[in-house]
């Protein structure tokens, strides 16, 4: 999806190239491959699309001073983005480039997927009786012993005499 945009510093209202829209800035403390990331909201700001960009990798302009952030959400596009680049412009203008995070953007859809889980962290999903070659095994062995009953005994035994 390509959207045309205005030049740096020009602002227009309305949607599309140069449109203003509200985005939400976050700090994300979760790894990228995390479903339902841990996001701490920083601020809602007004943003403007810079030039032509893709939904997957947009660059937008915001007037912003405040705490740092590393993640944002564009509600217009229903997508979350990781901040991959920040460039300072005139005044308080900042150009931020984001990389789409479909794992977070489509978290509910992913959560509802039926999948064949090959490996899992949780014990509930573990199949312990399946041989797992990822578990390290030492070649050395440990011996456990169970001592049972004395069968032979320590006596002198018996003499058996058979006759017809």
């Amino acid at each position: 999806m390509i959207i045309s945009a205005v030049l740096f510093g020009s602002r227009q209202t309305g949607k599309g190239s140069g449109d203003l829209m509200t985005i939400t800035l976050y700090n994300n403390s979760s790894a990228y491959n995390t479903l339902y990331k841990s996001l701490d909201k920083v601020k809602d700001v007004t943003a403007e699309i810079k030039g032509t960009c893709s939904v997957d990798n947009p660059t937008i302009l915001i007037d912003y001073t405040g705490p740092s952030f590393n993640y944002f959400y564009i509600s217009e596009w229903e997508r979350y983005y990781r901040v991959t680049n920040r460039q300072a412009g005139p005044g308080q203008t900042v150009a931020i480039t984001g990389q789409s995070d479909p794992v977070q953007s489509f978290a509910s859809g992913i959560a509802n997927l039926d999948v064949m889980i090959v490996r899992a962290e949780s014990e509930a999903l573990r199949s312990p009786e399946l041989a797992d070659n990822m578990i390290p095994l030492e070649s050395d062995m440990q011996i456990d012993k169970i001592t049972g009953d004395n069968v032979i005994g320590s006596g002198n035994g018996m003499i058996v005499i058979g006759v017809i």
């Binding site: 999806m1 990228y32 491959n33 995390t34 479903l35 339902y36 939904v55 479909p102 794992v103 953007s105 489509f106 978290a107 859809g109 992913i110 959560a111 509802n112 997927l113 039926d114 999948v115 064949m116 889980i117 090959v118 490996r119 899992a120 962290e121 949780s122 014990e123 573990r126 199949s127 312990p128 009786e129 797992d132 578990i135 390290p136 095994l137 030492e138 050395d140 062995m141 440990q142 011996i143 456990d144 012993k145 169970i146 001592t147 049972g148 009953d149 004395n150 069968v151 032979i152 005994g153 006596g155 002198n156 035994g157 018996m158 003499i159 058996v160 005499i161 058979g162 006759v163 017809i164």
Partner: protein, 723 residues
């Protein structure tokens, strides 16, 4: 006391606690940690914490040595008042003919019960009481039952029970204020060689525990235990033995204790007519409930067998650490892993010493089972099951006799045969003497007294018949079951990662199939007394899983023909053989006992003697003699280890001490093998999926779908959705 479980096989996750009493012993240096474990009990959340309430302890389950050796409980069934039923209740849980050794508590609940207080099972003769409490004598162990709670209290060795009031009164009051109205403490303690019982009942009310007819229940130990039995209201402490216990024969002690002491104890209570209907009894002691009407007495009493006094103390002491169903001990032994109980045995006669419990670390199992000499020389060889087809049974003999190894008996027979002068009878007698062996059977051969007889003739010695027991049939003897515990609770418990082998005396080592891990096996020996052969069959449940054949006898070859002068020579040879065989047998016994060079030397010397005897027999024979009996037995089979040993060889896991025995972070970073179909939302934490179909995600672009697929297939951490 026999111990039936190896601790480090199973006990990796059950947290245990222990009592003040045993903690003190430990702090004083009288008990090591491992010894302390022996007297530990599971934490309250563990399934066996309340085992005393409603079940016996399944020794075949995966429990710690401490638990497994604690107590087996016979719980009263309200609909069943027959006292014997309680024994049956336990016996039903034991496989017939298999020796067990664990403790049994018996509760009686009526005046008639103690009259029926006998051990009348097949195993009854195995029951006994401990001989002394040397190591922990003068310990005052308490259990106080507050309805289903246990009140913590420790009586100092020189103190008085009066402290009970100040220390626990408020607690009792609090309990009562919560609507739990009756408190029935009972104390069992040991002073030197005597067991004592102190019991009392307290009733609800503001003046508890002094209210009602049960007032003044708690007297000082020093003043109460003898001889004030007749004032039981004032002195509930009761001395339960007459004199020093010197032995624990059932008849001489157990019955006396139950039949006399308790009878008096009960009588006193009966006269008091104050103790009412019991509510329940956890395990030890007395719990009585009076729900408004006091007209009838009921109580529990207990009998301790085997080493249960130790366990009793442990249990009581530990239970004092439980309050309101919660474990309040501030000291927990985290695991029992790396601890192994050695010296365990199924022999109910065996006493377990403190030293039986030893530490092991990593791969160092102590003691390492010695490699058996004989047909299975080391740990690795001869592990394949030895199959036998057909049974060598039914040799058609009319009689066979058995006696202990005693050359005098052989001499009597030999001399009787030699002096029997009825024409050709002597020849016939020898001809029909077809087998003679030194036998070391798996267990005692059942026999009945009989008179030696050959072909209808009763040879006499010194004018009298020769008395010698006759064997009745070929006995089948079963040992076990032996629980082969899992360690990892995953695929590593099975082949090819874990393998189990069993050493079968007489036969050698046998590999066991993988599926026995996590189950129990038993060993049945099928014997042929005449052939001197034995086949051991290993059963897992009812299914045979391995078998091996061996010998249990040394043949004594002899011949019969031309009686005359040869007979005397044969007699000489037979006697020499018998003496030599005796030497050999003694040597074997010594070897078994010592497992050293000296024992082996005795075997060698004995073997030489056998050879000499055999030579004499051979010299006595000529070409007219027909050797009926076969080869000399394979004596090596009897010269090795005399006990069944099960060896479980597992992957070493020393670096990972707790379940699931994987490196730290393994589950979070690598994950366990799953291969289960589920929704992503069913997972928690890391998942890796295979060939994900992302068509259910409608609004994503192709690139985004590809990325989602990639992440799911390379590793996705699933968190809970935000609320």
């Amino acid at each position: 006391m026999a111990i039936t479980e190896v601790g480090n096989i199973t006990q990796h996750s059950i947290k245990i606690g222990y009592s003040d009493t045993f903690a003190k012993l430990h702090n004083d240096g009288d008990l090591t940690v491992d010894e302390l474990i022996r007297y530990a009990w599971c934490a309250s959340e563990e399934p066996y914490t309340n085992a005393v309430l409603n079940t016996d302890i399944n020794i075949g389950n995966q429990q710690s040595a401490a638990v497994a050796t604690l107590l087996s409980y016979i719980q009263r069934v309200s609909s069943q008042t027959d006292f014997d039923y309680k024994f049956t209740y336990v016996n039903d849980r034991l496989t017939a003919g298999k020796p067990y050794s664990f403790n049994i508590l018996v509760y009686a609940e009526s005046s008639s019960d103690y009259n029926a207080f006998t051990i009348n099972s097949d195993n009854g003769t195995k029951y006994r009481l401990v001989t002394s409490i040397d190591s922990i004598q003068k310990i005052y162990a308490y259990v106080h039952e507050v309805n289903k709670r246990n009140v913590s209290y420790t009586l100092p060795s020189s103190g008085t029970i009066d402290q009970y009031y100040s220390d626990t009164y408020q607690r009792l009051r609090s309990t009562i204020d919560n609507g739990e109205i009756y408190v029935y403490p009972m104390t069992v303690y040991v002073i030197e060689d005597h067991f004592y019982i102190s019991a009392g009942a307290c009733f609800s009310g503001n003046n508890l525990p002094r209210e009602g007819s049960m007032s003044n229940n708690f007297y000082s130990v020093q003043n109460s235990y003898v001889p004030q039995r007749n004032s039981w209201l004032g002195d509930m402490t009761y001395r339960c033995t007459y004199g020093v216990i010197t032995n624990y024969e059932k008849d001489s002690y157990l019955l006396r204790w139950a039949g006399n002491d308790i009878a008096e104890f009960l009588s006193e209570r009966n006269n008091a007519n104050s103790i009412n209907y019991y509510q329940y009894s956890d395990d030890i002691g007395l719990l009585i409930k009076a729900d408004g009407t006091i007209s009838y007495f009921t109580w529990y009493m207990f009998v301790k067998t085997e080493n249960s006094i130790y366990n009793l103390l442990a249990l009581m002491g530990l239970k004092c650490k439980f309050e309101s169903g919660e474990h309040v001990s501030d000291t927990l032994i985290p695991v029992i892993s790396n601890t192994m109980v050695t010296g365990y045995t199924f022999d109910p006669e065996a006493e377990t010493e403190f030293s039986d419990i030893t530490d092991v670390t990593g791969n160092n199992i102590s003691p390492v089972p010695p490699a058996p000499p004989g047909p299975s020389g080391d740990d690795e060889d001869n592990t394949d099951p030895v199959s036998t087809t057909g049974a060598p049974f039914g040799t058609g003999l009319a009689h066979y006799y058995v006696t202990t190894v005693d050359s005098a008996v052989l001499g009597q027979i030999s001399e009787a045969l030699g002096s029997w002068d009825i024409g050709n009878t002597k020849k016939d007698l020898y001809r029909n003497l077809i087998s003679c062996k030194i036998l070391k059977p798996p267990a005692g051969i059942p026999s009945t007294p009989s008179t030696f007889e050959i072909y209808g003739v009763k040879p006499q010695y010194n004018g009298a018949d020769i008395s010698i027991p006759a064997v009745n049939g070929n006995p089948d003897i079963t040992f076990g079951p032996y629980s082969i515990s899992r360690k990892f609770n995953d695929f590593r418990d099975y082949a090819p990662y874990t393998r189990a082998e069993i050493f079968l005396p007489y036969c050698g080592w046998c590999a066991l199939p993988s599926h026995v891990v996590g189950r129990s096996v038993s060993v049945s020996y099928f014997t042929d007394v005449i052939a001197g052969t034995v086949k051991a069959v290993v059963f897992c449940g009812e299914n045979p899983v391995a078998e091996a054949a061996g010998v249990m006898a040394y043949d004594i070859p002899f011949a019969a023909q031309n009686v005359g002068a040869k007979i005397q020579a044969a007699n000489t040879g037979m006697l020499a053989y018998g003496k030599a065989a005796l030497q050999l047998s003694a040597g074997i016994g010594q070897a078994v006992a010592t497992k050293g060079k000296q024992g082996i030397g005795s075997i060698v010397n004995g073997a030489f003697g056998v050879a000499a005897g055999y030579n004499q027999l051979s010299m006595a024979a000529n070409e007219n003699y027909t050797e009926i009996s076969g080869k000399a037995g394979d004596g090596c089979a009897l010269a090795g280890i005399d006990t069944i040993i099960i060896k479980i060889v597992r992957p070493k896991y020393g670096a990972y001490t707790t379940a699931p025995y994987v490196p730290d972070g393994f589950a979070h970073t690598v994950g366990f093998l799953s291969m289960k179909e589920a929704k992503v939302s069913a997972a928690s934490g890391l998942i890796l999926c295979d060939n994900v179909d992302t068509s259910g995600i409608g609004k994503a672009t192709d690139a985004e779908r590809a990325e989602i697929k990639r992440v799911l297939e390379t590793g996705l951490y699933v968190n809970n959705p935000p609320e």
